[in-house]
């Protein structure tokens, strides 16, 4: 038996996460993401190729289930395509928040790409709804029996609301696919939490395979200082974010700060989407950090006090304000509109997310300090505003990955969702420091992991007790040694090993018995065999006497 692991996406790259693991004969797809950087065939995982290699007629019969870890598009973006276009009709699992929030993410992205590039439509809004309807929601630590042999369970992963690490077990083989996770709690989410499981394989993200991050407080302070400086100078702050996740985190930070500093500058959310998302956050308190859970009945932290009602025309209003606008990388939409308006004034401030895809305005702003951005032939924007790059990331750093790997102590590790050189570094580290074989396959490569296999057998109570008794004796001996009360034992290496007999009968399951029980069952007897050494004189004496006897016997027989 082995776990066969085929990486369809996020192999030696970040984007379109998709891993298919064959565990105990069951094929499970973990995540089904899209790549935001490509707009050709590489946009989605190569499903057709995988299907051909499995030799199955269709995806539904090839896969036991699909499990989605969280609602980010690089983890779920290809799902409607996979179910509605490729025709996968089997079970799909994701957590409650992911099921609730994923349609927004998918629809938002579908609209943006449609507007922008006039791309061929891959799937429609109806496809998204149909796809989401098939999804079976998961709760944390709920053990779901996918079929007779396959069991999955979700663990809290931090990262974004509803993110989960997935444990899968079929037969004796067990594995964990982490998705994206965060080992330190942030303002609204807790840290990843998982049981100490016995694993053959751990598939972990490795976005920050080489980075160890410094304190979060310093970065938060820096951000608040920049915003405060801007608004007190009468400037406007544009915070382009995705609707979910960072927006809530940053808004909590600002709302808190506003309260403490007694600021009255309005904070706006541009999109209805974000307001709706806030409502979801309020309903899904159970998935946030412990601090919020403890206090939400008194004060729901997603009831932002300083967030004001917003209308699109407000971007022309004079005076300072803070605006959250989507999309995050200023690739279009309202954030681009606001950017056009506000970028020419040096009083204003634009914050940029930690990562921007090449080709977006965000990416241009990040690389160097441009004074002019050309949107197209006729539109140019003079950029005079200040630019602040956010250094918040909901991903774990290198130390976190090592900590989790050490905690779980799997037999093998596979790295995905990272950049090749950093992954190579982390692989070395895992192999040398933790002594676990580690792989980081590229896309469409597969890795085979050997697993331990156990035979299930019945045994009698007596055998178990006799084993336990041996072990008990052993531990007693050890204790004596430790306390120095007993005499020194020579027999310490004999770690409570017990003897038994395996009885195999035709048409019956094999059974392990104690010797005594076997004697009873089969009507056998015990025959002792003793080994005795003899001194050479005794041998001689014995041999001599025997020889004499033999001679006598011979004589006797001759006489007869």
């Amino acid at each position: 038996m082995a776990i066969e692991c085929l990486v369809l996406g996020a192999g030696q790259e970040v984007g379109k996460s998709c891993v298919v693991a064959t565990i105990g004969g069951k094929r499970v797809m973990f995540d089904c993401g899209m790549h935001m950087g490509y707009h050709d065939r590489r946009h989605y995982p190569d499903f057709a190729r995988a299907l051909a290699s499995w030799g199955a007629p269709d995806f539904t019969s090839a896969l036991s289930c699909v499990v989605i870890t969280h609602f980010h598009l690089d983890h779920i973006g290809a799902l409607p395509y996979f179910t509605e276009v490729c025709g996968y009709h089997g079970p799909i699992y994701m957590t409650y928040p992911t099921k609730a929030l994923a349609p927004f993410m998918l629809e938002d992205y579908r609209k943006v790409t449609m507007d922008q590039r006039g791309q061929e439509e891959q799937y429609s809004y109806e496809d998204i709804l149909r796809c989401m309807k098939k999804v079976i929601p998961l709760d944390l630590k709920q053990t779901v029996q996918v079929d007779k042999d396959l069991v999955i369970r979700a663990y809290y992963a931090g990262h974004v609301l509803g993110a989960a690490m997935i444990y899968a077990k079929a037969g004796d083989a067990a594995m964990v696919y982490t998705g994206d996770y965060n080992m330190t709690p942030d303002r609204h989410l807790g840290a990843a939490q998982i049981d100490r499981l016995k694993l053959d394989l751990l598939i972990t993200e490795s976005t920050y395979a080489k980075t160890i991050r410094d304190s979060k407080h310093a970065r938060e302070r820096e951000f608040l200082k920049a915003v405060h400086k801007c608004v007190s100078g009468g400037g406007k702050v544009l915070i382009p974010t995705f609707a979910l996740g960072r927006a809530q985190e940053l808004c909590m930070l600002l709302d808190d700060y506003w309260e403490r500093m007694n600021l009255t500058v309005p904070i706006y959310f541009s999109a209805g989407l974000t307001i709706q998302a806030n409502m979801y956050y309020k309903m899904l308190i159970g998935w946030t950090s412990q601090k919020i859970k403890d206090s939400h009945a008194v004060h729901n932290p997603f009831d932002f006090k300083h967030v004001c009602h917003f209308e699109r025309s407000f971007i022309n209003n004079p005076g300072p304000c803070v605006l959250f606008a989507t999309p995050g990388m200023i690739s279009g939409g309202f954030s681009l509109e606001a950017f056009k308006k506000w970028a020419p004034s040096e009083k204003n401030l634009i914050t940029l997310p930690g990562y921007c895809v090449a080709g977006t305005v965000g990416h241009k702003l990040m690389s160097g300090k441009p004074t002019r951005i050309d949107l197209d032939k006729d539109t140019h924007i003079d950029v005079r505003c200040q630019i602040h790059q956010l250094a918040f990331s909901p991903h774990t750093d290198s130390k976190g990955i090592m900590d989790l790997t050490e905690f779980l102590s799997p037999k093998h590790v596979i790295l995905v969702h990272g950049e090749k050189p950093q992954m190579a570094f982390l692989k070395e580290k895992i192999e040398s420091e933790l002594g676990m074989p580690c792989f980081y396959p590229a896309n469409n490569e597969s890795v085979s992991i050997p697993t331990t296999h156990n035979l299930k057998m019945s045994t009698t109570e007596r055998f178990i007790t006799s084993c336990a008794a041996e072990q008990g004796k052993q531990s007693l001996r050890k204790r004596n040694l430790i306390h120095g009360t007993g005499t020194s034992e020579v027999n310490v290496t004999d770690e409570g090993e017990a003897e038994g007999v395996l009885l195999m009968e035709r048409h019956k399951a094999p059974k392990i018995l104690c010797e005594d029980e076997l004697l009873q069952v089969l009507g056998m007897e015990r025959h002792l065999v003793q080994f005795e050494a003899m001194s050479s004189s005794r041998i001689e004496a014995a041999v001599e006497s025997e020889l004499k006897r033999a001679e006598a016997a011979d004589l006797g027989s001759e006489e007869k």
Binding site: T452, R506, E532, A542
Partner: protein
């Protein structure tokens, strides 16, 4: 339902006498017609469908050994449902549904077959009961009276809140609803933040972006007020009669309910909604005489007796523990499980269910075994292992060391035959012969002269090998074990 209504009225008359105010308003003909769904819909036969929604939950409990019904109230309707038990066990559609649910937890394609909790008969009944209470409340409000509801059941309160507000809205009456309890704010906040624990239809609300319960809207619109105490700041400002008040305590001995009942007891337009079960007469005694109308209602709790068989059929336990009081009513005749009856303060000994233990044998150990065929159907192999327990399972791993050679023994079917030992030894290239025996002692000796000197003494239950050379003695042992029918 009609029967219940009549019963309720009878009770009403019994407590307050026929001369209180004639028939209560809601018992009058035209009022009755206002609740057609309550009265006209025949109570459909209970098919145990309510369990369907619990199946995913129970499927993880399958193959349990003992099920303990701890709550007596869960068997409250034993009598009336008892006759239906057998009939249900035979109901094919039921078992089909069950099987389906067990195999696939709550598979997406099984949606049509699995009924939501809210669709099942019990819950429909419960909702009807609550809508009846609701209509009584509305008529009290219409007559200008206030309503006091000292019921502690959260589920009932949440449903009541939704239904009352709907009815108030549809009949365009504006009265404030107060929830006066120290836990009110917390409870209301919590109920809207735990979608994972709600029925499927409520979960759908989450996925379509609505609030889980109607009270979120009510709070926002200023129709529902939450206060921790009667003397809370702001309560007086918001207070307006007639109003609807939900507050503890159902015993009518503590909490805001005491004060409010004192205030309204003389007003025959007002209504007090009580839960059946506690002694109403006793509860109300301190407030006598009173003119306030009292509505006593019972609510569903626990699993209905009719559903026990369906449940047990799915779980397939070996034993079921029931309270002693049910011994006569529920017997294990023709059922594959047996019942144990418990009573307070008495210890019940459960029969030991585990004859066999299950162990996991590592493949490397299994491959290292040297089985020996005893006869055509039986083979045995010696096993030397270490026992581990990991996550509740016994695991046998390879032993590190072979056993001590100073004393071995053979397990055999027939006694060792010394006559067969000789050829076996010779086969191994040893020169040997029988030594003269003292046959009366039942002892035979074999003398080996090459490759080394050795002496083997055999009795019926013991063989002693005298030899200085370890290799030779091992050869002798091997020869011995090869002639013995055993291991």
């Amino acid at each position: 339902m009609m029967g219940e209504l009549v019963e309720m009225h009878r009770e009403f008359v019994r407590y307050y006498g026929p001369d209180t105010d004639g028939l209560p308003k809601w018992m009058e003909g035209e009022k009755l017609n206002e609740f057609p769904s309550v009265l006209q819909k025949a109570v459909t036969e209970d098919k145990g469908n309510g369990l369907i929604s619990l199946m995913p939950l129970y499927s993880s409990l399958k193959e349990n050994d003992v099920i303990l019904f701890s709550d007596l109230s869960s068997l409250n309707d034993m009598d009336e449902d008892n006759e239906k038990l057998d009939e249900h066990a035979m109901d094919e559609t039921d078992s089909l549904l069950c099987r389906h649910s067990v195999l696939r937890d709550d598979g997406a394609d099984a949606d049509e077959k699995i009924l939501f909790l809210c669709n099942s008969d019990d819950v429909t009944e419960e909702i009807e009961r609550i809508s009846f209470i609701c209509s009584c409340i509305i008529s009290a409000i219409k007559s200008g009276g206030s309503v006091l509801i000292p019921i502690g059941r959260l589920g009932v309160i949440l449903l009541l809140l939704e239904l009352i507000s709907e009815t108030l809205h549809s009949s365009s009456i504006k009265v404030p609803i107060f929830m006066i309890s120290e836990t009110a704010a917390e409870v209301i906040a919590f109920t809207n933040a735990l979608p994972e624990w709600l029925c499927k239809s409520r979960q759908e609300k989450l996925f379509s972006g609505e609030a889980l319960f109607g009270h979120v809207e009510l709070l926002k619109e200023g129709k529902l007020f939450l206060f921790p105490h009667l003397h809370s700041k702001g309560l007086l400002a918001a207070w307006k009669e007639p109003c609807i008040v939900l507050c503890p305590h159902w015993s009518l001995r503590l909490g805001p309910a005491v004060h409010l009942l004192r205030r309204w007891r003389a007003d025959r337009r007002c209504l007090l909604v009580l839960e059946q079960g506690s002694d109403a007469e006793l509860s109300l005694k301190p407030f006598m005489p009173m003119a306030i109308r009292v509505l006593e209602c019972s609510f569903l709790s626990g699993v209905r007796a009719a559903k026990i068989d369906t449940l047990l059929g799915v779980l397939k336990p070996k034993f079921v523990m029931l309270p002693e009081g049910l011994k006569s009513r529920y017997s294990s005749k023709e059922r594959p499980w047996s019942f144990l009856y418990y009573s307070k303060g008495k210890t019940i000994e459960l029969p030991n269910l585990q004859e066999d233990f299950e162990v996991h044998l590592a493949t490397d150990v299994a491959l290292g075994l040297q089985p020996r065929q005893l006869n055509e159907t039986t083979a045995v192999a010696r096993l030397r292992t270490k026992l581990f327990v990991s996550s509740g399972q016994y695991q046998l791993a390879a032993a590190e060391k072979q056993s001590d050679q100073s004393k071995w023994h053979l397990l055999q079917r027939d006694a060792v035959d010394p006559d067969r030992l000789l050829p076996a030894l010779q086969e191994k290239g040893m020169v040997c012969s029988f030594a003269a025996d003292d046959k009366s002692a039942g002892e035979r000796s074999v003398l080996i002269t090459s490759p080394g000197y050795a002496l083997v003494k055999i009795t019926s239950d013991r063989t002693v090998i005298y030899c200085d050379d370890e290799r030779t003695s091992k050869h002798i042992y091997d020869a011995l074990s090869s002639v013995c029918n055993g291991i």
